[in-house]
Symmetry: C2
Subunit: 325 residues, 2 copies
Amino acid sequence: MRLSGIGELSLLDKIRKRFSAKIAGGRATVGIGDDAAVISPRGDLALTTDMMVEGVHFDLSYITPFQLGFKLVSVNVSDIYAMGGSPSYALLALALPPGTEEAFLDGLLDGVAAALRLYRARLVGGDLSSSPVMTLSATLIGRVSRSVKRGGARPGDFIYVTGPLGDSAMGLHLLKTIGKPVDLKKPVNKPFKWALLRPLLERHLQPVARNPKGFKRHATAMIDISDGLSIDLVRLCMEGRVGARIYEEKIPISFEMKTAAGYLGLDPLALALKGGEDYELLFTSPKKLSGAVCIGEVAKSGLMLVDRRGGHRPIRPEGYRHFEV
Amino acid sequence: MRLSGIGELSLLDKIRKRFSAKIAGGRATVGIGDDAAVISPRGDLALTTDMMVEGVHFDLSYITPFQLGFKLVSVNVSDIYAMGGSPSYALLALALPPGTEEAFLDGLLDGVAAALRLYRARLVGGDLSSSPVMTLSATLIGRVSRSVKRGGARPGDFIYVTGPLGDSAMGLHLLKTIGKPVDLKKPVNKPFKWALLRPLLERHLQPVARNPKGFKRHATAMIDISDGLSIDLVRLCMEGRVGARIYEEKIPISFEMKTAAGYLGLDPLALALKGGEDYELLFTSPKKLSGAVCIGEVAKSGLMLVDRRGGHRPIRPEGYRHFEV
């Protein structure tokens, strides 16, 4: 059955039933299906919106509808986390080609629901439209008691990342080699064995946003790494009017990524610096912290990458940008 | 200069400056440019998201960038108003073709800013992406002290609309005849004189959402007419599990629309019933109210249109739907 075969009213009904009250994470007095949702927040709220466009952010040749829905939520939750908040409510705006299969929409909503369950947030509203190009937009609303801005880094602070970088970029590279969507529950053993492939593919297809709960009270500045370490570090430094010095050998690179890069003749450091969509958090703190990897320190000015032999080279904002020269 | 010639960082900077703090309507502690905006709301909030897709919701052959930006805000504010709320904060997600002219973006943002100023709301964040098809999505957040849901109509309530219907549909019809965008400040006198044309064109190109301030405390149910009176009345009745009887001769039709319809050989009643995008409010109330037009009354069941001779015919949910059979 195709979407063109179901009226929008019944489609909305379906979505409403799918998301009715069974997802925890907040109190909404009016939900899906009315002109607007109504919530009763306590305290400050963090708001963010992020969209994904077919052919720009995703390619349906490589991603399943479930993964797409899951990722749409994750990329938005990542922004809430990066602000020091906790996700509570979500709104979806889906523009789908008229011929979209109902099974596709079901998969997409399953992915959205799974992610919302994981992050303890609740879908409260949205919009549904047709479009020649699939465009998925979400707005996430979270509670925040102490916001951690991008601009709060101070010279002398340590610079941390929450996990290995470049895995997502490598995952995309591998997906292009595989050439079709991969169900993460069904092992594929090409071009590498599944134990090596799976974490890299998962990081790209179904990323889980990092919850900064354990350290956010110590963070002076924070941003999520969506466009690549170098560009997001530049953003953090520009906002705080500071510089940074990071050390090549401290940048966390997973065993899986390094192995795959070696096999494919790719530079793991370049992937870690420029590869986007890892959704790890990049933050600064004056404290020595465990549970995150220290990759350098905030300086008064200058953005430098220090190599293994002590050589310095400037960091340029390289990574994915939509309107680049 | 084209968008591809400006980096995303500087583009964001431009938007941030454009919208920095000069628009009234709320308090935001963190605004555009961070991972998420942070607001300090008092009381309940209404949330809504609505998107506009090129070729589906708008055609750049007929609308200026300013009008498009203005309309994007209006359609979202209309949902907040229809919930009984007042707009406070906005988030934008813009997906623009890579070759978009900077002047286009400026015009679009001018329109967004003008509308936000009118509604006393403030842009606090957003997302910017490239896309082969221009897709504009906005999320509006408003305060609400007493929400007016779609489902609260009771048999015996009067049914009201806030203004003439079908003007927007007629405006679109005329625009297709004119065949190019119309600057509402520069009179065009074809196919009719400007005094007749302007209100119809404006209603389509640059609609102003209706503020229900004067009567919302008396409303039992409310919805904005975005897809046409008949489909939105069906929605209201379905939600409330009630019926309705509306009277043909009571449906407000403007002098301009009636005149243009007569000239073009179109049926004004059909345009009023099925034409979408008027963004008038449709509401029910047990009270006799002035300032809105009573078009009928809520019944226990059945949806009937009563004609001038007292004949009854059923109302079908006709109007614009994205996923129709």
